[in-house]
Subunit: 311 residues, 3 copies
């Protein structure tokens, strides 16, 4: 494979910033880190001496540690402040906190925040040439998750224009779904389908370029890629949303419902999984599942992104 040209971008805020060439470069770079670093447990030096500051204003295990491991594998100094003692709690503004870490020499901010567009807002306020990665903002975007999802699909089914992809569950609140849908369009995926109860379909669904279904039978027909989303149990207190048992009966990914998809369809989930709510254990742990590969690919993709932004 010929080496692709490195795209030039300073921040990664949303999937829509990227084109097919940039995503192709990131696939190649992530593949490189899978082989050179994860398989061999080898430390890289490309971020040696640089400071990466992880600012997660929402609790997170997997994304937070995925970025942490990726940055450390690249040799960076990683700052992972405990939000509860952060000066913003003392009334300092978010921007003053950011500028303080910037003045201390941060080269890259990884930002998760419950408010939409926080990463964008921060990127606009920086006075150095530091970079920003959006690690999830409200219900808006989660581009590194979208990219690791695309990379995982690419490793199993590289011909995107032939693919039928079905995304199931709480689309309404899912920044993961939003970034993945944008990415699939960039890669020219043939068909993108959503399967969800009416109350969990976003209002702007007409502008997403997708087909909407309300039964698994219709939505999963001949799918190549099946993505189950996490549904937060707290949301199910809303009367318009089915309770966990009903949701599982209608929209749970089980061996029965998965049988509507192609026999070699892959099954994805961003995690953490609610077993017996949105997915059955026989599927989550079954032969079609690539859920743990997504986690592994996530470290490699984040290495690829950081390397691309900072070197």
């Amino acid at each position: 494979m010929t080496k692709k040209t490195k795209p030039t971008f300073r921040h990664l805020i949303e999937m829509g910033m990227l084109d097919k060439q940039a995503i192709g470069y990131l696939f190649q770079n992530a593949e490189h880190f899978l082989t050179s670093s994860l398989e061999k447990d080898a430390l890289q030096k490309t971020l040696s001496g640089k400071v990466v500051t992880n600012l997660f204003f929402e609790p997170s295990t997997r994304s937070r540690h995925s970025f942490l491991i990726a940055a450390k594998r690249l040799g960076a100094i990683v700052i992972n402040p405990d939000m509860s003692t952060l000066a913003t709690a003392k009334g300092e503004s978010l921007i003053d906190t950011i500028r303080t870490f910037e003045a201390m020499g941060t080269s890259l901010f990884v930002i998760r925040h419950s408010d939409n567009n926080t990463a964008d807002f921060i990127a606009a306020e920086l006075s150095s040439n530091a970079s920003v990665i959006n690690a999830g903002d409200g219900d808006n975007q989660h581009p590194t998750q979208g990219l690791l999802d695309l990379f995982t699909i690419h490793r199993h089914k590289p011909n995107f224009p032939e693919l039928k992809v079905t995304i199931i569950g709480d689309i309404l609140h899912s920044r993961v779904a939003r970034s993945l849908i944008e990415g699939l369009h960039i890669m020219d995926a043939q068909t993108i389908r959503l399967v969800a109860p009416t109350a969990l379909v976003p209002n702007d669904v007409d502008q997403l370029g997708v087909q909407v279904f309300h039964t698994m039978k219709d939505g999963l027909q001949d799918a190549d890629v099946v993505v189950a989303l996490r549904i937060q149990k707290e949301r199910m207190q809303d009367a318009s949303i089915p309770d966990p048992n009903k949701f599982y009966q209608q929209f749970g990914l089980t061996s029965e419902s998965l049988a509507y998809a192609k026999p070699d369809a892959i099954v994805m989930h961003p995690g953490p999984i609610n077993r017996s709510v949105e997915i059955d254990s026989s599927v989550a742990d079954g032969p079609q599942s690539v859920i743990l590969e997504q986690v592994r690919n996530g470290v490699a993709m984040r290495m690829a992104i950081m390397d691309c932004l900072l070197t």
Copy 2:
């Protein structure tokens, strides 16, 4: 000294897995790290690029940081997640959390949990060739503490078959005592004695191969090694257990009670110490105390164990 043969084991779950040869190898390896790393403040590279994930589901200062320093001294990337924000708190199963960190590339899990046999359970569920160290499970085992205790004894009194060892206090709840007793048997220690109020002697004491005493005078007679255990004050609310003052009068290690042991006996305690409850300051800080040596030896022994499991 001739170089001993490296034992081959993937996990360290309980003391009983080891034989005299394996423990001898670990003594030699720990001695090597004391000299080459701790004395010289020199970083090793043997775990460079490998990820060590510390999962402490119980609060801990000394063990947690001892493992952390040991792993960093060996050049590892160390993940030390804050339990309160861990996804297991969001309802993810323990095994899903473990598999996530495994997929991110963890080579070694260090596990502390309030449930007996958690480390064993986790080791059986791994799908990679990652290793597990039990850093304390319930009231069952704490093998790295047992090994650092043996190593500390070995550095002062290397001839185990001649030794009389006395362990004092809350044997019932002590995984430290249980691992040490097993280790002393493996090393063929001559005599192992327990001194405790009846309510703090375990039910299965007959199977432990020890002598039980209820007074310091009887239990400490001619001891070479004296181990005081931490007693948790909350347990003393139980009517069958003496209150702190009474416990100190009957079972506190003071210069008076220590005088029953041999004049060159060493005094050990796993920490943290309750001064004037299980031990007097004159003894804890006195010339026979090797309590801080235990802490130092703990870092070296954990380096030795990690090095042995992962290289």
Copy 3:
């Protein structure tokens, strides 16, 4: 510039320990780290293999992470325990906790504590040759902040004997002010003035070698350096202290009040800033502000101090 002679001191407890030569050496060393490490994002190796233990018994973002980054830039292993799970919470004495980390191989303790003289007390109890840096004790001293302040002044206005320095606000509770005043005297600053409401002037002000003013007009006249201090809003519940609005009217650093100072005066603040309480945004973010330079210089100065203590 000729290389200055390295001063020999093991601990940094208070500004008064230093003389002009020692401070001059630290300026030169901090300048070296600004150039060689911060500008180039280059890792140093001078503390490689050494353990730095950060013990912050008070919440802190900027100092804690400034020390963390400085130590990591020098190649140290940094231990940053979570205070809430620290064994001192289990009733272990502070000194036993310190001795435990000392036995694990700590070369340097960085201590912040709400009690005056804690760092000094700890330094006296160590049994190894580990060093202690006071990172703020009660309302007593914060010498590394004082040094980074002096260094920031030095980079803009190197001729201290000609300088008029004005410090504004809550002097009474400010260890920052106390360390800076001592440092300015060591450097032979011409004039040191305080501007504060009566209730925020310390009782021992007569011994500080300063002039006290109660209006901005009088206190800022012809100042070369203007330092606004943080005032904690909780303190303003005291009836003798103006409320935030009144405080801002009388003692807030605004473009109007700053106009009393020299036109090229620099504006400093230790952070975090309360905008519209002690300082106006137009000044904090204005051309005379060096507040973010202080943050950057803080990392370099802490590198300089650690390097000086440990090598």
